[in-house]
């Protein structure tokens, strides 16, 4: 039967038309079916991925960073919750330009930020117009944080009317907090955090490191940087179903974040607090004191103090001035704040003087020179004149305040800090081994001893960015000459009144002329300067403290350690950090004993005695050495290095005059705190650290999250 037969009474043409319409309808519907099949089956995967990408938002749950606690379990760095507002760019992209502007203005009003500033924060780093440090570094699917540390009221305003704030995510994130036990600052010790850089993120991704993401902050200095991998924990991921306005509907999937490990340090907050106070006090006092040399008050522009455990090299306290508030880094530092940290006018507060400051050691150098002399031809019986000055060539090298003491032993020379005594030794060695000033390989017992005590190289402390100091020996002089000769010869080659030399002082011109001719030569003047810790040799306060620790403990050179152990959030010890021995200074016990006695003499009757009067020296024998290092164009650097049976304490104040004068009182106060000295009595119960010595056990971590002090050391 044909279709036409079924067409009934309609006219033929009309019937045909109906067939055509039927065919048309059929083909249209067939088209729909084919298209449907194409969308859902052929290209279905693509659309399924896109559907998931837009309806599921992956929220990175940042882990809680590990605590940093002191030897007694007191938190030095903790965390607090901060309200953070983030914007979901996927949702923002769907808004009309006008609505988007309105939204940003509305958000900006609540968080007190200009819409243009918010726009800048929303840009992905590397995109056009993006500003480094402001732009977004994280995942494109993750909401971009635009403001931190909102008040509860601000957070509520944003949360209460979600319909007014499409794509705005408000949540609480954990940020660093500084509980400051006993008012401590310890900024240079602890370090700080800042957002991860693109390079670091790429490196982590390449290395398969899942512990960081674009929104991570990482340790940038101090132990925050050194132990970052333990402290940072592992981020969690939460998948949240969102509606077309970016508002969460329900949770899809969640991987919990793992909190970072707790870092137990050997820092004792109480000692740290005393050390900081005393350093501050020393600087304040110096600034109010007139310098008899320059006839103006001491600048006392910076200072540092270090307390080490003598037998382990553990850092008990470490302070540096000027300092800054570490919490300026929390939630992103402003340009102004950052430039203040680098500002030379403010004394470059970011620079940690204890590990990064390099100063001539002055007379604190002499015990190391004594060790060298006693093992290289001199003996305890040696007597040398301590004249008021010592002639080297055409130049007279004087004693401090031109004092003269007659003939002295090494011990006596250390007690009174006789320069001319040590000049003679430097002069003697130079004549004996190195009178050829061009010979860079000439033997030099003084330089060798200084190197054995670890000077001129990093101590290896677990704080990044340490300075190596410098031993100004023959090799250094040659290398320095090679690097500078073009500059100085450039000055010296022209007459002083040449226009090119404008602004060059007489002194510099004279120096340049001499340097150009024989700057590489290790002359006898260099040798005598070296013997009293002057000249181009520089050390960090930490290096000096470590060197004294080696004298105190019989020659073991440690890489100082701030950290003692890494403890997981559940209290189990993940890793113990033992003291690290990096060298041994092999000297006869008699030599150590001799120096030790001599340094006790410094405290009892020597240059430090006037600061230690009435100190119970018999119960707590303190060995010390003062130093006052001259710096060209500046006031003298004040040094005191000291140690007991247990600890080493070093204090340095730049441009503050003599060692005992500026640093002496602070050193005494620190010793009093360490041993519980009340007046002339030792009251062990009042010692800063219970039991006087650093605990040999870790604090106890309880299930409820509280941390208790360790049980006292059992002797």
């Amino acid at each position: 039967m044909t279709l036409l037969d079924r067409l009934g009474p309609a006219p033929a043409r009309s019937r045909l038309r109906l067939i055509v319409i039927q065919a048309l309808v059929f083909s249209l519907f067939a088209t729909l079916f084919v298209r449907l099949y194409y969308l859902q089956v052929v290209t279905g995967d693509t659309y399924q991925n896109r559907a998931a990408a837009q309806s599921v938002r992956e929220i990175v749950v940042q882990p809680t960073r590990g605590l940093i606690v002191d030897d007694q379990g007191r938190p030095l760095v903790a965390n607090r919750l901060s309200w953070v507002v983030s914007l979901d760019r996927t949702t923002l992209a769907k808004l009309d330009p006008a609505d988007r502007t309105t939204l940003l203005r509305r958000v900006g009003k609540v968080i007190d930020l200009k819409p243009r500033r918010i726009e800048k924060k929303l840009l992905t780093c590397g995109d056009e117009g993006s500003e480094p440090g402001v732009c977004w570094n994280g995942s494109p699917y993750q909401p971009v944080p635009v403001a931190q540390d909102l008040t509860q009221a601000q957070a509520q305003r944003l949360q209460e009317q979600p319909e007014d704030f499409p794509g705005v995510v408000v949540d609480q994130q954990s940020v660093r907090a500084y509980p400051q036990p006993f008012g401590i600052n310890a900024a240079h010790l602890l370090g700080y955090l800042s957002p991860i850089t693109e390079g670091e993120l790429d490196a982590a991704e390449k290395g398969g490191d899942r512990s960081v993401n674009g929104a991570s902050t990482v340790g940038r200095a101090g132990i925050e940087q050194e132990y970052d991998q333990w402290l940072r924990g592992m981020p969690g991921y939460q998948q949240v179903r969102v509606d077309s306005m970016g508002q969460p509907i329900d949770d899809e999937d969640e991987v919990l974040a793992q909190p970072g490990d707790t870092l137990v340090t050997s820092i004792d907050a109480k000692v740290q607090s005393v050390v900081e106070q005393q350093l501050h006090e020393a600087i304040t006092t110096a600034r109010a004191t007139r310098d008899p040399v320059t006839n103006r008050n001491f600048e006392a522009d910076s200072g540092a103090a270090v307390v080490l455990e003598a037998d382990t090299g553990r850092v008990v306290a470490m302070a540096s001035q000027p300092t800054y508030d570490p919490s300026v880094w929390v939630g992103g530092i402003s340009k102004k704040q950052l430039s203040a940290l680098y500002s030379e006018d403010a004394g470059t507060p970011l620079l940690g003087r204890a590990t990064q400051g390099q100063f001539a050691p002055g007379s604190t150098w002499k015990p190391f020179m004594t060790a060298a002399a006693l093992t290289n031809g001199y003996s305890e019986d040696t007597r040398l004149p301590c004249s008021s000055s010592f002639q080297v060539g055409n130049r007279a090298f004087g004693n401090h305040e031109s004092a003269a003491y007659g003939s002295l032993s090494f011990a006596q020379a250390l007690e009174v800090s006789c320069n001319t005594f040590f000049y003679r030794i430097g002069f003697d060695y130079w004549q004996q081994y190195g009178s050829d000033a061009d010979d860079v390989r000439a033997k030099d017992p003084l330089v060798e001893e200084a190197k054995r005590f670890g000077f001129g190289q990093e101590t290896g402390i677990d704080i990044p960015g340490e300075s190596p100091g410098r031993i100004a020996d023959r090799r250094w002089k040659k290398a320095y000459y090679d690097s500078m000769k073009d500059y100085y010869c450039g000055i010296a080659d022209k007459p002083q009144d040449d226009p090119a030399n404008e602004g060059i002082s007489d002194f510099v011109y004279k120096f340049a002329s001499e340097f150009c001719v024989e700057g590489w030569k290790y002359k006898v003047t260099d040798a005598v300067n070296f013997s009293i810790g002057q000249g181009d040799t520089i050390v960090t306060p930490l290096q000096l403290a470590r060197g004294y620790a080696a004298i105190a403990n019989g020659g073991t050179l440690y890489a100082p350690r701030v950290a003692r152990a890494v403890v997981a959030a559940d209290g189990t010890v993940v890793r113990r950090i033992p003291p690290e021995e990096v060298g041994r200074v092999k000297l006869p016990d008699a030599v150590y004993g001799y120096i030790d006695e001599a340094l006790q003499g410094v405290t009892r009757t020597g240059t430090m005695a006037w600061r230690m009067g009435g100190f119970p020296q018999d119960e707590v024998p303190i060995r010390s050495k003062t130093g006052s290092a001259e710096v060209y164009g500046k006031q003298s650097t004040s040094w005191v290095a000291s140690y007991s049976d247990d600890y080493v304490v070093v204090m340095m104040v730049s441009q503050a005059g003599t060692g005992s004068g500026a640093s002496g009182p602070g050193i005494r106060k620190i010793w009093e705190a360490l041993y519980g000295v009340q007046g002339e009595q030792v009251v062990p119960d009042t010692a800063a650290i219970p039991g006087t010595q650093l605990p040999d056990r870790l604090p106890s971590f309880r299930d409820d999250g509280s941390i208790l002090p360790p049980a006292e050391r059992e002797d």
């Binding site: 043409r13 319409i21 309808v25 519907f29």
Partner: protein
């Protein structure tokens, strides 16, 4: 079973009532209601917090629609032809009213708000044009039949175009491009069914194309309107408007795959990514939640409706019935293609509902009335003398 009204059982028992057509329409309405429910249950902004709000409203719409359908089915066909001019005039009146006091939704003045009730007169206008044109050609050709003339003459065509032209101009003025497209396709279908000479159809087609080109060239349409119209070919032309709809519709449909995410389980639907999803984009709910299988069933059911409508047109023993049934078939067919094609990204984004499935009273009522008319025509053919004279034909057709 969804509420089909008290009249449904009586309807099906009436002689000549096409059970397949009724079944397909009821099935479409039921599925449509579920899809509308799914699309709105999580949309508190639309429902005001009651997830069943749209379910209830749509059930009421269907009930009213079926009641209207039943009334038309049982009405004597002579009455239908008497009432037809009134239906036409009423819808013209509605279109005029909407232009003067209508409410603008999505850029078009298409809605009449009567209290809480909103009416879209252009939906009824499609039915009115079909009836009006069918009536004119029927009256004129029946008087000519005695003289042995076949097919519509030039004068018939002109008169019919006038009938269609008045509402067309009013709809263009809203402007409602989608309804205009559907109306054009319907008019073409009606003209074809009247047996008008091919040159009229060709001429009309050319005029339409020329008119559209001229409108664009003369700047009658703004650039953004053209971009919006063409966004289905390239969503970036109108990324926040039609382009966004096109993208989201494709994602939702593509996300359905072969078997769909399951009713009430479509992630895109539940999250409300597709705009106008319970009305114009309701097919994307079927695409995402019921998959290729379910969406194909929907297309097949619409196919059944068109097949029955065209069968009724073929079987109709008078010009009015044949032309009206064919017109309705063209209307439903093109509107369904336009709507689904839009959801699949092969037709421009224009606001036309999917008959029986989309949420909305006006569309539901107009469509149900049209089905009522189809059933009325089908009944009349069954009772007509020509049918009785040729009893074998009916048996053959049913076979």
């Amino acid at each position: 079973m969804a509420p089909t009204g008290p009249s449904s059982s009586t309807l099906v028992r009436l002689p000549g009532v096409d059970r397949l057509l009724v079944g397909a329409v009821v099935a479409l309405s039921v599925i449509g209601t579920l899809l509308v429910w799914s699309a709105t249950s999580t949309r508190d902004d639309l429902t005001g917090g009651d997830p069943r709000a749209f379910l209830q409203k749509q059930v009421v719409n269907i009930a009213i629609g079926l009641a209207l359908l039943a009334v038309v089915v049982v009405t004597d066909h002579r009455w239908v032809r008497i009432v037809a001019p009134l239906v036409y005039l009423a819808s013209i009146g509605g279109l005029v009213l909407v232009l003067t006091m209508g409410t603008v939704v999505n850029g078009s003045r298409s809605w009449l708000m009567l209290g809480s009730l909103s009416i879209q007169p252009s939906e009824f206008a499609k039915l009115a044009v079909v009836i009006g044109m069918a009536l004119v050609v029927a009256e004129r050709s029946e008087s000519r039949r005695l003289r042995g003339a076949r097919g519509a003459t030039g004068a018939d065509v002109a008169l019919m175009l006038l009938i269609a032209g008045v509402p067309a101009v009013l709809i263009l003025a809203q402007p409602d491009l989608g309804t205009m497209l559907v109306l054009t396709a319907t008019v073409m279908g009606v003209l074809a069914a009247t047996g008008a000479a091919r040159r009229w159809l060709v001429l009309l087609g050319l005029a339409g194309v020329t008119g559209a080109v001229a409108a664009v060239a003369a700047g009658l349409l703004e650039d953004y309107q053209v971009d919006r119209f063409l966004a289905f070919t390239d969503p970036t032309l109108d990324p926040r408007g039609a382009g966004y709809n096109v993208e989201q519709a494709r994602i939702a449909v593509g996300n359905g795959g072969l078997f769909g995410q399951g009713l009430f389980d479509g992630s895109q639907t539940r999250s409300g990514f597709v705009p106008e999803q319970h009305t114009d984009f309701v097919f994307t709910v079927a695409g995402e939640e019921l998959g290729l299988v379910g969406a194909s069933v929907l297309i097949a059911l619409l196919g059944v409706v068109l097949w029955r409508a065209l069968a009724i047109a073929v079987r109709a023993d008078d010009v009015f019935g044949r032309v009206a049934a064919a017109g309705i078939a063209c209307w439903f067919g093109f509107q369904a293609f336009q709507n689904i094609g839009m959801c699949l990204g092969i037709m421009p984004v224009t606001g036309v509902p999917l008959p029986f499935v989309s949420y909305g009273g006006s569309s539901m009522f107009a469509s149900m009335l049209a089905v009522g008319l189809l059933l009325n025509i089908s009944r009349r053919s069954a009772e007509a003398p020509s049918a009785r004279l040729q009893p074998s034909r009916r048996v053959l057709v049913r076979a």
